[in-house]
């Protein structure tokens, strides 16, 4: 079956005016993205994530290696009708309002008919900007720009979404909204390729990941295969407050031929606590 993205030994080296190689942004990276999955490309700042995205979009050109996007070369213009892109820290024509901006990008999406007002309003509602249709983009906050960028990336109803740090600038609630939105898009059959350095976000959303560092691919594979310790289970027990209780649990496990590796208090994540408190406040 045709893969959404296929990358084979892709390299991008930058040279100085003398033609000498001065910087390896990507070095012989190979990966596949299956259709219908959420794929996470993880790496620290400057690791080559954005470089790979730009190569897939045909904005920059490889030094060596190949890449195909939905079976076509990144330079193929017609295939971009099926792709949506959200850049990191998006910037748009700031004298327009959201509807005008969506209308402009919709006119470039390659569709035979113009984008309808209903579709634009629906998209703005999905990204949480329906109350801001008359506001000029220059007055948008960073988080609002991010949401606007997501709406623009979806205007042509793409099969494949390329998202560069999609939750940057968003508060924890906004981050959860976007994550849920991405899962919904996946359920609609879309393929999502997202770049991030926020590990929790990738862990909660992605089916497969690749980890990249200084232009080199360090690890790739299905997320659950990479994270799950093959012969260990996590069990949550209620009411076990005493040290004697813990010892009895260890002894019982030993009797059955198992070993209890760790007993510690279950903690909520700070993010979960934050969201719980904000939601409670909102209900008051």
């Amino acid at each position: 079956m045709e893969k959404a993205v296929e990358v084979r030994n892709l390299s991008k080296h930058y040279r100085n005016v003398m033609g000498q190689k001065v910087f390896k942004s990507l070095d012989r990276v190979s990966l596949d993205v299956e259709k219908g999955e959420i794929f996470g490309l993880l790496g620290p700042n400057g690791s080559g994530k954005t470089t790979l995205l730009k190569l897939l979009l045909g904005l920059i050109f490889p030094t060596s290696g190949t890449a195909t996007v939905l079976g076509k070369s990144p330079r193929d213009v017609a295939s971009k009708k099926r792709i949506g892109y959200l850049p990191e820290n998006p910037y748009y024509y700031d004298f327009l309002n959201p509807l005008e901006l969506l209308n402009f990008y919709g006119s470039l999406s390659g569709s035979d008919s113009p984008v309808t007002k209903d579709r634009m309003h629906l998209l703005l509602e999905k990204v949480g900007l329906s109350g801001f249709t008359k506001m000029r983009i220059r007055n948008f906050s960073k988080g609002m720009l991010q949401r606007m960028g997501l709406a623009i990336s979806l205007i042509n109803d793409p099969e494949l979404l390329l998202l560069d740090e999609p939750t940057i600038g968003l508060d924890p609630i906004g981050t959860v909204d976007i994550q849920n939105f991405l899962l919904q898009l996946k359920s609609e059959g879309k393929t999502i390729f997202l770049c991030s350095h926020i590990l929790s976000q990738v862990q909660d959303s992605c089916d497969s990941i690749a980890i990249i560092h200084k232009g080199n691919l360090v690890r790739k594979g299905r997320l659950k295969d990479l994270l799950i310790a093959k012969d260990e289970l996590s069990v949550v027990v209620k009411g076990l407050n005493t040290s004697e209780g813990r010892e009895r649990l260890r002894a019982s496990a030993r009797q059955s031929g198992y070993e209890v590796v760790d007993i510690s208090e279950k903690k909520d994540s700070l993010r979960d606590l934050f969201i719980k408190l904000i939601n409670e406040e909102a209900k008051k």
């Binding site: 730009k54 979009l57 045909g58 904005l59 920059i60 050109f61 213009v77 017609a78 971009k80 009708k81 792709i83 949506g84 892109y85 850049p87 820290n89 998006p90 910037y91 748009y92 024509y93 004298f95 402009f104 990008y105 006119s107 470039l108 999406s109 390659g110 960028g149 623009i152 042509n156 390329l162």
Partner: protein, 254 residues
Amino acid sequence: MRNILSIAAMTYEEALRNKLLNVLIIFAAVAIASTRFFVFLAPSEELKIIQDTSLGIIRFIGMLITVFVTGGLLPREIERRTITTVLSKAVSRTEFLFGKFLGALYAIFASMIIMSAIFLILIYAKGRIFNVEVIKALILMSMEFVVLASITLCVSTIASEIFNIIFGILIFIIGHLTNYLQHLAEQFTAIGMKSLLLALYTILPNFENFNVQNAIVLGAKVPLQYLGKVISYGFLYSVIMLLLGYLFFAEREI
């Protein structure tokens, strides 16, 4: 075509919001209107002074508008990264470049129409005449700016905004001195120097072809055949510049 027109409309809208452009047009309007107060220099030559001075103002301001609008077209898009959001859609680099150029031309022509309208109203108010030759001069001037815009856009595919603006102004000045290269070539006997000067004369734009200001002011008529030849020259030169600009832009990494 739809992509080109969408990008052109966006470029035009953005140019209209450019404060510098608006200031230049207002300055031109005030300067043209105030030419009627220079008539104390030669009362019997009132109409000639108004025509000569106004055409000079329109040429100067039109040149500035052209280089400022086109010089920043691509560098600003690249700096702000709006170009990545456009080229990530089903838009070819050709469509993007031509769309930006067309949008810039809309803005330049709109400015020319405003300045020309003020000028024509002024000479009609003064002389109660409608001089068709003046219209021809304005048409040729507009074509001159199309050529200048195409050169500035071509350079902007590889250079920064400041460089493009300075280059555009310099090429405008050089373009009005190109005829001297031909005269200079005639003075040299050495084949190498002669060939170099003639090559430069051929390659560099000859903006004096578009300048019929002196002839108009002296009451001469511009033959339609001349108009046709110069417009064709301008069109051909612009097409070559745009093709060259496309070749640079096609391989430019964004």
